[in-house]
């Protein structure tokens, strides 16, 4: 018996569009290969490496203290946190004591930088969805945090402020005043920001139930930071593995609850960052009330020579997730091997999985919630 040939369904080949490396909403030089069928994206493959600067190789050739400015340029939106992680890593490797005042200053700048970084994240996320005004409102607040950091460090983006053994300059009274003034109005400004963007009906329609990431999937892909917490995993290094002096402060860890849709959807990932800013202001208030007297710099040998074949792996909670440095010393003035685990790098690896069969507009909206900084992805 002859079976009649089945007519083939009419099908063309997918249209491949390259989103990036020059594209308004890839947040840097990320290239995403979109395999599209009309408006539907069948696969979105991220291509990275456009900003690769051999950071790990450079680390093997220059001294421990000279590497601090290089860490600035990894996650350039949260340079203080990167400096801090590096300093902590070297301090653990070479056993350097940090004075209490320096720890306070570190928490202070770290949290301020977290606010600045999250403001960029939520502001540009509005931009990704076509809302321009919230972006500038967020940048207005960010400007104030940068003014404070500038007062302390002299820099506005790449600070190089947190050094091995302490911080570069002591806290000033003027910076304290500026911070008090900033904190006095920041929550009200955030509330108005929420009215403008977070609870906007169109915004919720665009973000809720899109790109939901489950907690198990997030852990399997090694996702950390706000993205992990948005997926409902209650995990924050500042509370669960307290480093520095975080155990002295009282703050809550916001976790995604799926208020407007599923747990771990785009709106949740966005909302986590807003809530973290509220928590950061709480920490900042406690920090500036409890500043101890003392030195801002510990005793650091002129030439650092950590013990031979010592290995450390240090991670901290940066605004984008857990930044970790894996360092092996060979007893010389430079590290034998240095590996930086950028949180954005790991977070971005779930992107292809998450954006399967989405609309183009949703791919952009999902990428925005990842809040990637390409300097850290490519290193």
């Amino acid at each position: 018996m002859i079976t009649p040939a089945q007519p083939k369904p009419l099908q063309g080949e997918p249209l491949v569009v390259h989103m990036g490396p020059q594209h308004p909403s890839t947040h840097g030089v990320l290239r995403v290969e979109l395999h599209t069928d009309g408006e539907v994206v069948e696969r979105a493959i991220p291509n990275i490496g456009y900003l690769h600067r051999c950071k790990e190789k450079i680390g093997e050739s220059i001294g421990y203290d000279a590497y601090v400015p290089y860490t600035d340029r990894m996650d350039y939106l949260a340079a203080m946190n990167n400096n801090w992680t590096w300093a902590m890593c070297v301090e653990k490797l070479a056993e350097i004591e940090v004075p209490e005042r320096a720890e306070y200053i570190r928490v202070f700048v770290g949290e301020l930088n977290r606010i600045a970084s999250h403001l960029v994240a939520v502001g540009t996320y509005g931009l990704d969805l076509g809302a321009f005004t919230p972006f500038l409102h967020a940048f207005r607040e960010r400007e104030m945090t940068l003014d404070i950091l500038e007062e302390l460090s002299g820099g506005r983006l790449c600070f190089g402020y947190v050094r091995i053994g302490g911080v570069a300059e002591d806290m000033t009274a003027r910076a304290m005043d500026m911070t008090r003034r900033f904190l006095k109005q920041f929550r009200a400004k955030l509330d108005s920001f929420n009215e403008l963007l977070s609870f906007n009906h169109i915004f919720i329609k665009r973000t809720a139930n899109i790109g939901a990431l489950s907690g198990e999937q997030a852990i399997a892909y090694g996702i950390t930071g706000p993205m992990l917490r948005a997926s409902g995993v209650d995990w924050d290094l500042r509370r669960d593995e307290p480093y520095s002096i975080y155990n002295r402060f009282e703050f809550d860890i916001p976790v995604g609850q799926g208020l407007k849709g599923q747990v771990g959807d785009n709106w949740d990932r966005y909302w986590i960052r807003i809530r973290e800013m509220y928590e950061s202001t709480r920490i900042l208030e406690q920090v500036i009330d409890g500043f101890p007297e003392g030195s801002h710099m510990g005793k650091v040998p002129a030439v650092l020579r950590p013990p031979k074949d010592a290995e450390v792996y240090v991670r901290t909670e940066c605004p984008r997730g857990e930044l970790a440095f894996y360092m092996i010393s060979d007893g010389s003035k430079v590290p034998f091997r240095l590996k930086a685990r950028g949180p954005s790098f790991c977070n971005l690896s779930v992107f292809e999985e998450l954006t399967r069969d989405m609309l183009i507009a949703d791919v952009v909206a999902t990428l925005g919630t990842f809040d990637v900084v390409m300097g850290e992805v490519d290193r």
């Binding site: 990275i48 090694g222 450390v312 792996y313 034998f336």
Partner: protein
């Protein structure tokens, strides 16, 4: 679970010829640093599978994979963390300098996918069984693996491109 207990557990389960050594780095006189467990290269997927699924270990988060170029061998270092039990495991495998091969763990933790690609790209360790092992940071046509200690940087790459 303490790291040394983990080592004893693994040794008991897989035998001494597979789970080779528990090393505490640093100088005993000047203070100790992170420990690691050295295991045989071939047994890596089995051990990882065990570490992920066993009730006592439950390592659900692969935090990082780093490749290290030692004078005699390459190392692939796995930093594992358990979100449920909140403990660490640091595994190391060694592979030959010429034609280095390590079994892939991307099947066990999807997070390993990009980490292994990065290690392959920069250090040249081939991860067997990886679903998509190609360069990730450098261009596909790049020659050599820059993180190796014997890597010589191409001179005036940009000048050659414009014909100087």
């Amino acid at each position: 679970m303490e790291h040394i207990d983990l080592y004893n557990l693994l040794k008991e389960r897989f035998g001494e010829e597979t789970v080779l050594e528990h090393v505490v780095t640093g100088d005993p006189a000047k203070g100790l640093r992170d420990p690691f467990i050295l295991i045989r290269c071939e047994a890596l997927p089995d051990i990882c599978e065990f570490l992920k699924t066993d009730e006592r270990t439950r390592f659900d988060l692969l935090h990082c994979i780093s490749a290290v170029d030692r004078p005699e061998y390459f190392e692939s270092v796995y930093h594992l963390f358990s979100m449920l039990l909140r403990h660490w495991a640091i595994l190391k495998v060694r592979t030959a300098k010429t034609d280095p091969h390590v079994p892939s763990v991307a099947r066990i933790w999807p997070a390993a996918d990009w980490h292994e690609r990065e290690a392959y790209d920069l250090m040249g360790i081939v991860y067997d069984g990886h679903p998509n092992l190609k360069r990730i940071l450098l261009p596909d046509e790049w020659e050599g693996h820059p993180l190796r200690k014997d890597y010589t940087f191409p001179e005036h790459e940009h000048l050659r491109e414009i014909g100087l």
